[in-house]
């Protein structure tokens, strides 16, 4: 438990929560490992956990008929994979696959949500962090939609 708490404290996503919350979350967490190529989650399945990545790289992918798997985002140490657990319909929107061996702290999504209902302060703290994360992802996605490398200029011809 102490080591889990320590790991949470050193993860940028939750590290600055007050110690009582870190202890609480540690009780709802466990260390997990994925070999390269293994899936953390699959599109359509029930989303019931949150992965705080400590090591390795995770690809968020979409499987398509004509073009195989397309990677839409990669995430690495210090980042968070998966927040579909937080909001309805609690279903993964993408595949999450380890493309390098991954070590993470997995939070029990259902349990964390229940605690948030009991303690709105905790709920607010987590929601705030996820809102920040989501906005950042939205920003990145929008920038990629611009396809800046495609038609727009780069450097002298």
């Amino acid at each position: 438990m102490e080591t889990l708490e320590h790991e949470l404290r050193s993860h940028p996503f939750v590290g600055d929560l007050q110690p009582a919350y870190l202890t609480l979350l540690a009780s709802l967490a466990r260390n997990v490992e994925f070999a390269a190529g293994a899936f953390l989650f699959r599109e359509g399945a029930r989303a019931d956990r949150c992965y705080l990545l400590r090591e390795g790289r995770v690809a968020l992918e979409i499987a398509t008929m004509a073009r195989g798997h397309i990677i839409v985002q990669t995430l690495g140490a210090g980042e968070v994979a998966g927040f579909s657990w937080l909001l309805e319909p609690h279903e993964w929107q993408f595949d999450g696959r380890a493309i390098e061996p991954v070590r993470a702290v997995a939070l029990d999504g259902d349990a964390v949500r229940a605690k948030c209902e009991e303690d709105p302060r905790l709920g607010f703290e987590l929601m705030r962090r996820f809102a920040h994360l989501a906005t950042g992802r939205l920003q990145s996605t929008r920038l990629r939609l611009l396809d800046v490398y495609g038609t727009a200029h780069a450097t002298p011809h």
Partner: protein, 284 residues
């Protein structure tokens, strides 16, 4: 009217053009070619990283192309060209033995000397990699003058990444930190997928002692600058290479102006401190 001096007489832009020979060509990607050009016998050529030459394709026209080779390496001068119009198309089609008109070098250079003693973050987006490469060669040739060196490189897809062999060898070094990201990739890609500005947050550099150099699409540069400044890098230590329409490269034709600056003479390398206000003005 004062009569012109001999030195001034020598600086007549179009008359400086000379025929250089293509010694080798190399296809870098589906739309990008590197030409190795040799000046006429007896002509010495030297440049600083960040500068460009005006390359002339007979019968088609002339465009500014950054020199992408090693400023300290002897031998043919390398230019990486993306096929995007009539002139670049003609240049990309040149074969060894053919001629290309060259005049230059023009413009300002990356302040590699001023960056010594601190960390350097080099950011390249898309076809921004060629002009950045000449600076990168300098940094690694004088590795001991710098602390950490970080290269962040973004492209559309893995197939658009330039110089993959060099990238691999740089990534393999323990004294360089190289991160590559693309907008989208197929499932077999093992690198990053995401935008370049997002790499800044986790890149290993000390903002208080960092100089940043960047070239890429203007949108990418704008957001990367924002990320760097948010991380604490001051704007006078962030340098970018700007691009504008150029006809003369002699600060006369007026096309390359951004506010009071002539990109061909006051740039293409600018500090964010100087150019920032003009980049923020829309349609400036």
């Amino acid at each position: 009217m004062q009569p012109r001096t001999e030195a001034a007489r020598a600086q007549q832009p179009w008359l400086d053009r000379e025929p250089w020979r293509v010694t080798a060509t190399r296809r870098e990607s589906h739309d990008t070619v590197t030409l190795e050009l040799e000046p006429p016998a007896g002509r010495t050529f030297s440049f600083q990283p960040g500068q460009f030459n005006m390359l002339y394709a007979f019968g088609v026209g002339e465009v500014p192309i950054s020199v992408s080779g090693d400023p300290e390496a002897p031998g043919p001068v390398r230019h990486t060209i993306r096929d995007m119009g009539a002139v670049t198309h003609a240049l990309c089609a040149r074969q060894a033995g053919q001629e290309v008109g060259v005049r230059g070098p023009y413009g300002t250079h990356w302040p590699v000397a001023e960056a010594e003693g601190g960390d350097v973050v080099v950011v390249a987006g898309g076809v921004g990699m060629p002009p950045m490469r000449s600076a990168f060669y300098h940094l690694i040739a004088h590795r001991d003058r710098y602390r950490r060196i970080v290269l962040l490189y973004g492209a559309r897809t893995p197939a658009d990444l330039l110089y993959p062999d060099e990238l691999s060898s740089w990534r393999g070094r323990f004294d360089l930190d190289v991160q590559v990201t693309v907008d989208t990739a197929a499932g077999d890609w093992r690198g990053g997928v995401g935008v370049v500005p997002d790499l800044i947050g986790s890149a290993p550099f000390d903002p208080a002692a960092t100089t940043a150099f960047m070239v890429g699409p203007e949108v990418m540069m704008r957001f990367t600058i924002r990320a760097l400044m948010r991380a604490g890098v001051p704007d006078e230590r962030i340098f970018l290479s700007a691009e504008r329409n150029m006809h003369c490269a002699a600060a006369m034709c007026g096309h390359c102006q951004i506010g009071p600056f002539f990109v061909c003479r006051d740039g293409p390398v600018f500090s964010c401190r100087a150019l920032g206000p003009w980049l923020r003005r829309r349609e400036a």
